[in-house]
């Protein structure tokens, strides 16, 4: 942490420190308390006063500079913070190097606002001279960042943004995703539910925006291809305060209800579901966000009974997962990492190995790595895509030809408050499910209109 902190403050010398102050102060505030905050600001001030030249000489050009535009304020601030921590924990554990090259992170708050994401990414590329971009949690922000990186030929790897088309119909050669698509886990889940739970008729409630449509669409597509039938679909706005009318609306004759809601909507929905007497009567199925670490924490006993699919859980029994969770808790005062942190940590691992492999293959010196990534972004992305990870906190990982992760999925059930058990493990899952890419891409992206 101290090393990264130092880097962060150095960065202040490069640019208007006033603009950076909110993001910096918050992180320091959280991790080190107000004394660090004061010293951070005064260091920034000193840097502005004339330490810039000295710093430029020490950092040099052989540092690998990574732009991390990320949502540190706004609705996913906590998750954005986890992404930063994922980067920092991995770097701390590995001598602040990726593939043998020392690393400097440029962390900027994009406020969950696409226009800010564009401005910050541009600033990182043009003023800070970063070699590639590794941030952006929300799909909207990822598209905004991609609008800058694609024309300026800068490599962009995301650890979270799951919008299907980023690695499907709108894939660009300078992009890769170390995470699942929105529909990917739900496709397999729909098939699994039909085959193993023998449900035939399902009602759905989806959060009313692209993530909800793609997740629910994936579930419905695979469930119906397997032979089941979705008899009802309800769309709940992100700002729904009271879920009672939606729960009242649900068709009570179905075998199960599938829900994909996010953030604070999850506990409120589950509360209404149980209060109106559906809990325990009609089984509840869920996409990843219905029972991730945050949802389990805020739902408590209301989440018990839900069966869901995810790429990761901090409660997976593998040693690699448990070691990771232990390290994280130790580094961040007991916080339990959700997939936001895990996925970013794993992305750092992925890039680390990709660079190391490439250097081994070509005999490239560590000093030449930043230049290579900046001048040959497509080669760098190809190197990441070709890299396989045998062991990560969420199992073995590799990428498909469309730069998306092939991973193990876990079907789990919440058996008591804040506790899950694994019901099934599905290895080697692809964003195209059991179809060929050509078949899969011949139909439109999942939306309110598709599948019907």
């Amino acid at each position: 942490m101290s090393d990264d902190g130092h880097k962060k403050r150095n960065k202040l010398g490069n640019q208007s420190w006033l603009l950076q102050a909110p993001a910096i102060s918050r992180r320091d505030f959280v991790t080190k308390g107000s004394i660090a905050l004061g010293s951070g600001l005064s260091l920034g001030y000193l840097a502005r006063q004339g330490l810039t030249a000295a710093h430029a000489a020490t950092s040099g050009d052989n540092m690998l500079k990574i732009g991390v535009p990320v949502e540190l304020t706004g609705p996913i601030a906590e998750e954005g913070e986890e992404m930063v921590r994922g980067w920092q924990l991995y770097l701390k554990q590995h001598g602040n190097q990726l593939g043998g090259t020392p690393v400097k992170l440029f962390i900027d708050d994009i406020q969950a606002t696409p226009s800010v994401a564009i401005a910050k990414t541009r600033q990182e590329i043009e003023s800070d001279g970063v070699d590639f971009i590794g941030g952006g949690g929300l799909a909207l922000d990822a598209y905004a960042i991609s609008q800058v990186t694609t024309p300026s030929k800068v490599a962009y790897v995301t650890s979270i943004a799951s919008s299907d088309d980023l690695t499907q119909r709108k894939l660009v050669p300078t992009f890769a995703r170390a995470n699942m698509t929105s529909s990917q886990p739900n496709l397999y889940f729909g098939q699994w539910v039909f085959q193993n739970l023998n449900y035939r008729r399902v009602a759905m409630i989806l959060q009313d925006y692209a993530y909800g449509w793609e997740s629910g669409g994936g579930f419905q597509y695979a469930f119906e291809k397997s032979g089941g039938k979705v008899v009802q679909r309800l769309y709940a706005p992100l700002t729904t305060t009271d879920y009672t009318p939606f729960v009242n609306q649900l068709d009570k004759s179905v075998d199960a209800v599938y829900a994909i809601l996010v953030g604070s909507n999850v506990p409120r929905f589950e509360k209404s579901y149980n209060q109106l007497g559906l809990g325990g009567k009609i089984p509840l199925l869920g996409g990843p966000d219905m029972a991730d670490e945050d949802a389990l924490r805020s739902s408590g006993k209301d989440a018990v009974g839900i069966t869901f699919v995810h790429e990761y859980s901090s409660q997976l029994p593998m040693p690699a997962t448990q070691q990771f969770v232990k390290d994280w808790k130790q580094a961040y005062s007991g916080q339990i990492p959700s997939y936001w942190g895990e996925s970013t940590f794993t992305m750092a691992h992925w890039i680390d190995k990709a660079i190391a492999d490439h250097r081994e293959k070509t005999g490239m010196s560590p000093d030449a790595v930043p230049d290579w990534i900046r001048k040959q972004p497509e080669q760098f992305i190809d190197a990441v895509v070709a890299t396989k990870l045998d062991q990560t906190p969420r199992g073995p990982l590799r990428m498909d030809d469309y730069h998306n992760t092939i991973m193990t999925l876990y079907i789990m059930q919440v058996d008591e408050p804040n506790h899950v058990k694994v019901l099934a493990t599905i290895p080697d899952t692809s964003q195209f499910w059991i179809e060929t890419p050509k078949q899969f891409l011949s139909h439109p992206v999942f939306s309110r209109e598709f599948p019907q």
Partner: protein, 286 residues
């Protein structure tokens, strides 16, 4: 249909508890309190912690009400008093206060969603007219009715209420007969804080707190006040019930247009009857 109406009334009751303070501050004191939603989330997070530590909904309710009341008194004394009858500075100042409170809540409690456990004894369900209604929602209906009657009596039937009405109707005369208008205003604003604090405690098991709730609660409150009309307890009550019922019944018949259901009535009222269904004509400024 009946199920939707009953649940709508219950939701409307919570809205009334939340909106009554805002309506009083704006209608009587002419203070636009943008920090209303921030008071709510502070109250929720505080309440959840108190309920966990002291173990009970009642202690959360008491601590919340008092804490937000003190906060509101301080806010009025230190800041809002300078902006008497100046709506734009009020909006900016309380907007700033919102940002400060919301960020402080994140620093103290983290940005996690917190929903309070439903108070024991109120967590069951009842079969009412052939439809399932959670007991806690019925309880909220009772609270809202008691609160509405109390507020109305307080303002219309007590000496304190008379003082308040007098200083609002003619400040100069009120001063000249020895009413300390400033102190009265601070007291009344503190009282609206107490109402929001209560609203936070009552809302914690139903809506909970989460990043961004400060703006959502403010929006809901504004919709209620715009529809019902300003400064009248009856207006806030009618507005809350209407919004609650419309939301529930609207979803039942037009689930795909749920955004529309909430905002369309507001636009309709704004264009046909700008002062709201039961509102007084409001003049802010000198």
């Amino acid at each position: 249909m009946l199920a939707n109406v009953i649940n709508g009334i219950a939701f409307g009751s919570l809205l009334f508890i939340l909106a009554s303070g805002f309506s009083l501050a704006l209608g009587v004191l002419r203070v636009i309190n943008i920090a209303h939603g921030a008071f709510y989330i502070l109250s929720v997070y505080l309440g959840v912690t108190i309920a966990r530590v002291a173990g009970g909904f009642l202690s959360a309710l008491v601590v919340d009400s008092l804490a937000i009341m003190v906060l509101a008194a301080l806010l009025h004394r230190l800041l809002l008093r300078r902006f008497h009858l100046a709506p734009l500075p009020q909006v900016l100042a309380t907007y700033g206060v919102t940002l400060i409170i919301a960020q402080s809540v994140r620093l103290i409690w983290g940005g996690y969603t917190e929903v309070m456990d439903t108070p024991s004894g109120l967590d069951g369900t009842l079969l009412l007219f052939g439809t399932i209604v959670p007991v806690y929602r019925l309880f909220l209906i009772g609270v809202a009715i008691v609160l509405a009657v109390t507020l109305w009596l307080l303002i219309e039937r007590t000496a304190l209420g008379a003082l308040v009405r007098a200083s609002v109707d003619d400040e100069e005369i009120a001063r000249s007969i020895g009413i300390d208008v400033d102190r009265l205003a601070t007291m009344l604003f503190a009282f609206t804080g107490l109402l929001v604090g209560m609203g936070g405690a009552f809302g914690a098991p139903l809506l909970g707190g989460y990043p961004g709730a400060e703006w959502e609660i403010l929006t809901l409150t504004l919709i209620v006040v715009v529809i019902g009309g300003l400064g009248s307890i009856a207006g806030a009550f009618v507005g809350s019930m209407l919004v609650g019922i419309l939301w529930n019944v609207g979803i039942a018949y037009f689930a795909q247009y749920s955004y529309f259901v909430l905002f369309a009535p507001m636009i309709l009222v704004l264009s046909l009857r700008p002062r709201g269904l039961l509102g007084k004509k409001l003049v802010i400024g000198e």
